[in-house]
C-alpha cells in the first residue's frame, strides 16, 4: 500500500481506539458528577481522604483504584458482558456457581473447604447442646449440589455430604440426627430446590417435614392434599445475583393447608402477624423473605391448643420454609436464628422451657452448619 493509504489507515485506527478510551473516560467522569449532584453523597463524597499518612503508606492510592473500579460507569453491564464471555468460553462456573442442567444454578462446595477440625468443632458444640437438652434432634440438610448431582455440569466436583451425615450420626448418636438425604434423593425429579437460589423449596421442606414427623413419632399431616398456590413467578434467588445473567424468575409455592389453624406470630417481641407468610416481601428484592418474614433473631409462634407441647427451633434460612409445616403439632414454637441472635442461647432456652419437656430441633444445611454453627 502507498504511504498515503497507510497513513489514512493509521489515522483511522488511532481515532477509533482513542475515541473508545476518551468516551469512556468522559462518561465515567460525567457519571460521577451526576451521581454527586443527584445523591449529594455520591462518589466525590465517598472518595478516599488524602492525608499525609495515607499518602506515604500508599493506602490512599489503593483506595482510589478501588473507588474507580467499583464505581465505574455502567459497572453492572460490564460485568454482565464479562459473564457472557465466560459462557462463550464454555465455562460452566461463574463466581463459584455452576450453570447446571435444566435451568439449575448450583453453588459449588468441595470437601477440601472443610477441615476435619472445623467439623469436629461444630459437632462438639452440638454435643454440648444435646447434653443440656437430651431431646435435641438435628436435621442436616444436604446442599443442592449433593442431592441434585445429576444436574451438575459434566464432571463437576461437588461435596458429597453423605459421609459427613454418617459422621454426625456416629458422633451425636443415630437418634439425634434426622437424615433427610434419602427422602430428598428419592424426589430429586421434583422441584425440591429453587433454580436460582441455593435453598430448598416448600416442597423440599415438606419432604423434610415427613422425616421430622417420623423422628418425633407424630402423625405427618398431608399438606399436599390441597394444590399449592403460586404466590409469585418472579423470584430471583441468591445465586441469581452471583451469576449476573438475565435469567427468568421462578415460582414460589405456598401450601394453603399450613394456614388452617389460627396462629399468633411474634417477631423479635415487637411485630405480630397471623400468617407465616409476608406477601409484602414479594414486591421487594428478597422475595424469599416471604417465608417467616425473613430473618429474625427470635420468633414465637403460638396457637390455641389443649396440648402443652413446645418446640424450640435453632435454624438458618433453610428453616424458614420448614417452620409452617411444624407449627400445627405444637402449642408454642420458638425459632432462633443464630446469625442475628446476640446473647446466651442456653439461657434463652431455659427461659422458654416452661414444661421441662421442650423438643429441640436444629435445622441447618450441612455447609452452613460446619461453617458457622456454634452455641457460644
Amino acid at each position: 500500500m502507498d504511504i498515503y493509504g497507510e497513513k489514512k489507515n493509521a489515522v483511522r485506527t488511532v481515532t477509533f481506539l482513542c475515541t473508545i478510551m476518551l468516551v469512556l473516560t468522559i462518561a465515567d467522569l460525567f457519571y460521577r458528577v451526576v451521581d454527586f449532584r443527584e445523591e449529594g453523597k455520591g462518589s466525590f463524597m465517598t472518595a478516599p481522604k488524602m492525608t499525609e499518612e495515607s499518602l506515604i503508606s500508599g493506602s490512599f492510592m489503593k483506595d482510589c483504584e478501588e473507588n474507580v473500579t467499583n464505581r465505574f460507569v455502567n459497572r453492572e453491564n460490564w460485568i454482565t458482558l464479562k459473564t457472557y464471555m465466560d459462557v462463550a468460553m464454555l465455562k460452566k462456573e461463574i463466581n463459584g456457581v455452576y450453570l447446571g442442567k435444566d435451568r439449575y444454578l448450583l453453588e459449588k462446595h468441595t470437601r477440601a473447604e472443610f477441615s476435619s477440625e472445623k467439623v469436629e468443632k461444630t459437632l462438639e458444640s452440638m454435643q454440648q447442646l444435646i447434653k443440656e437438652y437430651p431431646d435435641t434432634r438435628f436435621m442436616p440438610i444436604p446442599t443442592k449440589d449433593c442431592v441434585l448431582s445429576e444436574k451438575l455440569p459434566a464432571f463437576a466436583p461437588y461435596f458429597d455430604q453423605r459421609l459427613l451425615i454418617e459422621q454426625m450420626k456416629n458422633v451425636l448418636g443415630n437418634e439425634h440426627v434426622i437424615d433427610v438425604y434419602p427422602v430428598l434423593k428419592a424426589h430429586e425429579q421434583e422441584k425440591i430446590y429453587f433454580y436460582t437460589d441455593s435453598r430448598w423449596t416448600g416442597l423440599g421442606a415438606y419432604y423434610g417435614y415427613t422425616e421430622f414427623a417420623k423422628a418425633y413419632k407424630l402423625p405427618a399431616f398431608n399438606y399436599l392434599k390441597q394444590e399449592p398456590l403460586k404466590v409469585t413467578e418472579e423470584f430471583k434467588g441468591n445465586l441469581y445475583s452471583e451469576v449476573n445473567l438475565p435469567l427468568k424468575g421462578e415460582d414460589i409455592l405456598m401450601f394453603p393447608r399450613t394456614l388452617e389453624k389460627k396462629y399468633t406470630i411474634t417477631y423479635d417481641g415487637n411485630k405480630t402477624s397471623h400468617s407465616f407468610y409476608a406477601p409484602d416481601c414479594l414486591t421487594g428484592e428478597n422475595k424469599y423473605d416471604y417465608f417467616m418474614d425473613g430473618t429474625h433473631a427470635l420468633t414465637i409462634i403460638e396457637r390455641e391448643s389443649f396440648s402443652q407441647e413446645e418446640l424450640f427451633v435453632i435454624k438458618n434460612s433453610y428453616g424458614n420454609c420448614l417452620i409452617p409445616f411444624l407449627a400445627r403439632h405444637y402449642k408454642r414454637v420458638y425459632v432462633v436464628d443464630l446469625s442475628c441472635f446476640d446473647g446466651s442461647l442456653i439461657n434463652l432456652m431455659k427461659e422458654c422451657d416452661t414444661t421441662g419437656q421442650m423438643d429441640v430441633l436444629v435445622v441447618y444445611d450441612c455447609v452452613d452448619f460446619v461453617e458457622h454453627f456454634s452455641i457460644r
Binding site: 485506527t13 481506539l17 460490564w78 460485568i79 464479562k82 464432571f155
Partner: protein, 471 residues
C-alpha cells in the same frame, strides 16, 4: 499503578497523553518526566526518592567518567558507580534474603529489615549500569542534559516490567522524536494486544494455577498437576510478554523504538533457543555486560561452562530473592551446558517437534521451581506431576478442569505460536483484493473487541494480580 487498571486506563493515560501531545518540542520531555515520576510515586510514594538518587548518581558518574582522561580514574569511577548500583539493588532486594539465609545456616539471630522491594528496581538499575559502562567504553557520549537522562531512567512504559532498554538504543530519541501517526497507530495496536494478553489470557490462566495450588499437593492427580503447569507457563509468558507489548506500544506512541523482549519462546527446539527468545533484553544485557567481559566462549570450554553457570545464577537471583530462583537458574545452566557439550548436536538430528517437546518439558519443570517459593513444596508438586504421590492419573475433577479451561487453553496455545501473526502477515501481503479487504476489516474489528473485552474483565476485577512484583 498497573497498566491493567481502570485508574491507569481512564485517568492517567488520557490526561497524560493530552498534555504530552499539546506540549511543544522540548517541553514533551518535561511532561514525560513529570508523568513518569507521578506514575512511579503513585505505586511507591517513598521509593521515588531512591530512583531519583540512582538517576542523579549515574548522571554524575557518566559525566565524570567521560571528562576524565586517565584510564585509571575512569576505572575508579566506573567501579564506584557499579558498586553503588549493586549496593542499592542488593540492599533493597536481597538484604532480608541474605540475613534470613545467614540466620538459618549459622544459627544467628540478625533482625530482618522487612522493607518492601521497590517496584522496577531490577530493571532501572540494569539500565543505569548499561549507561555508565557504555560511557566508560566510549560507546556512548555522556548525556549532558539531566532532563533527558532522567527521562531515560524513569520513563513509565518500561519502568515496571521492562524491556530493558540499553542507553545506546534510546540515546537519539531522547532528544529528538518526530511525531508519526503510523508509529502511533502501531503503538496503539501493540498496547491493546498486550492488554488483552494480560487481562484475557494471563489472568484467567492464573486463576487455574491458583485453583490447582489451592489443593493439597499430596492429593493432586497427574492430569491436574500438568494442567496446572501448562497454565502457569502460559500465564507467565502472557503476563510478561503482555506487559512488554504494552510498554513497546506506549513507547511507540511517545516516539521511542523499544527493543522486543519475546519472540514466541514456546516454539523453541532447544533450551538454548528458548533463552534466545525469552526475555531477550535481559539475556542480551547479561551477555553484553557479564558473559562477554568474563571471556565468553573465547577462553576454552571449561571457562565457558563456568561463565554460563555464573550468568544463569545471576539471571536466577535477578528474578527474585529466594533459593528457588537460584535453583531455577542452575536448572537452566545445567541444560544449557549439556546442550553445549553434546545435546545440541543430538537434537539437530531429531525432528524439531521432539526438540520442542524436550524444551517444553525442561521449561515446565523450571516454572514449578520458579513459582513455588518453598523448595520442599516444589518437590511435592513435581512428585505429583509424575504420579509419585499416589493420587492416580486423573480424578473426576481433572476432567472438569480440562473442560472448564479447554477453550482458554486452545486460544492460549495458538496465541503462544506465531500462527495468528502469520495469518495476518499473509493476508496483509496478499495480492488479491479480498485478502487485503478482509485484513482491513478484521484489523479494525479485532482491536476494539479486544479492548472492550479487556475493560469488561478489568471492571469486573475478580482476579488481576501483578506477577514479577518482586523484580
Amino acid at each position: 499503578m498497573v497498566f491493567s487498571s481502570t485508574l491507569f486506563l481512564f485517568r492517567f493515560l488520557p490526561i497524560f497523553f493530552i498534555f504530552y501531545f499539546m506540549a511543544p518540542g522540548r517541553m514533551k520531555n518535561v511532561i514525560l518526566l513529570l508523568g513518569s515520576l507521578f506514575f512511579y510515586a503513585w505505586g511507591e510514594p517513598v521509593y521515588v526518592l531512591l530512583i531519583l538518587f540512582t538517576t542523579l548518581s549515574d548522571y554524575w558518574y557518566g559525566r565524570v567518567i567521560e571528562s576524565n582522561k586517565r584510564k585509571g580514574a575512569k576505572t575508579f569511577f566506573l567501579v564506584n558507580s557499579i558498586l553503588i548500583n549493586l549496593l542499592v539493588l542488593g540492599f533493597f532486594k536481597y538484604a532480608d534474603f541474605l540475613t534470613e539465609s545467614c540466620n538459618r545456616l549459622l544459627g544467628t539471630t540478625f533482625p530482618l529489615w522487612e522493607l518492601p522491594v521497590p517496584i522496577g528496581i531490577s530493571f532501572y538499575t540494569l539500565q543505569c549500569m548499561s549507561y555508565v559502562i557504555d560511557c566508560y567504553r566510549g560507546k556512548v557520549k555522556a548525556q549532558r542534559n539531566f532532563l533527558d537522562f532522567a527521562v531515560y531512567v524513569t520513563m513509565f512504559p518500561q519502568l515496571l516490567l521492562g524491556p530493558i532498554v540499553k542507553y545506546s538504543l534510546a540515546e537519539k530519541q531522547l532528544c529528538r522524536r518526530e511525531p508519526d501517526i503510523i508509529r502511533i497507530s502501531y503503538g496503539c495496536k501493540r498496547f491493546v494486544t498486550g492488554l488483552a494478553k494480560k487481562v484475557l489470557l494471563a489472568n484467567q490462566l492464573g486463576m487455574l494455577w491458583m485453583e490447582v495450588t489451592g489443593n493439597d499437593f499430596a492429593e493432586l492427580p497427574v492430569m491436574i498437576a500438568w494442567l496446572g503447569v501448562a497454565a502457569l507457563g502460559l500465564q507467565i509468558y502472557f503476563e510478561f510478554s503482555g506487559f512488554a507489548d504494552m510498554a513497546i506500544g506506549l513507547g511507540a506512541c511517545l516516539g521511542f523504538d523499544f527493543p522486543e523482549n519475546f519472540n514466541y519462546p514456546y516454539i523453541s527446539a532447544s533450551v538454548t533457543e528458548f533463552w534466545c527468545r525469552w526475555n531477550m533484553t535481559l539475556t542480551g544485557w547479561l551477555r553484553e555486560y557479564v558473559y562477554i567481559p568474563m571471556g565468553g566462549n573465547r577462553k576454552g570450554l571449561f571457562c565457558q561452562i563456568i561463565n554460563i553457570l555464573v550468568v544463569w545464577l545471576l539471571a536466577g537471583i535477578w528474578h527474585g530473592a529466594g533459593w528457588n530462583y537460584l535453583l531455577w537458574g542452575i536448572w537452566f545452566a545445567f541444560w544449557l551446558i549439556l546442550e553445549k557439550l553434546f545435546l545440541k548436536n543430538l537434537l539437530k538430528k531429531l525432528p524439531g517437534q521432539l526438540g520442542n517437546m524436550y524444551t517444553l518439558f525442561i521449561v515446565a519443570i523450571g516454572w514449578v521451581v520458579f513459582a513455588i517459593p518453598q523448595i520442599s513444596e516444589g518437590i511435592r508438586y513435581l512428585s505429583a506431576m509424575f504420579g509419585l504421590n499416589g493420587a492416580g492419573l486423573y480424578s473426576r475433577e481433572s476432567f472438569y478442569f480440562g473442560l472448564k479451561y479447554m477453550v482458554l487453553f486452545i486460544i492460549s496455545f495458538i496465541a503462544a505460536t506465531p500462527l495468528f501473526h502469520r495469518i495476518a502477515e499473509c493476508m496483509s501481503h496478499s495480492v488479491t483484493g479480498y485478502g487485503i479487504a478482509t485484513y482491513r476489516v478484521l484489523e479494525k474489528l479485532i482491536l476494539p473487541i479486544l479492548l472492550i473485552a479487556s475493560i469488561a474483565h478489568i471492571v469486573d476485577g475478580s482476579y488481576n494480580p501483578f506477577l514479577y512484583f518482586q523484580l
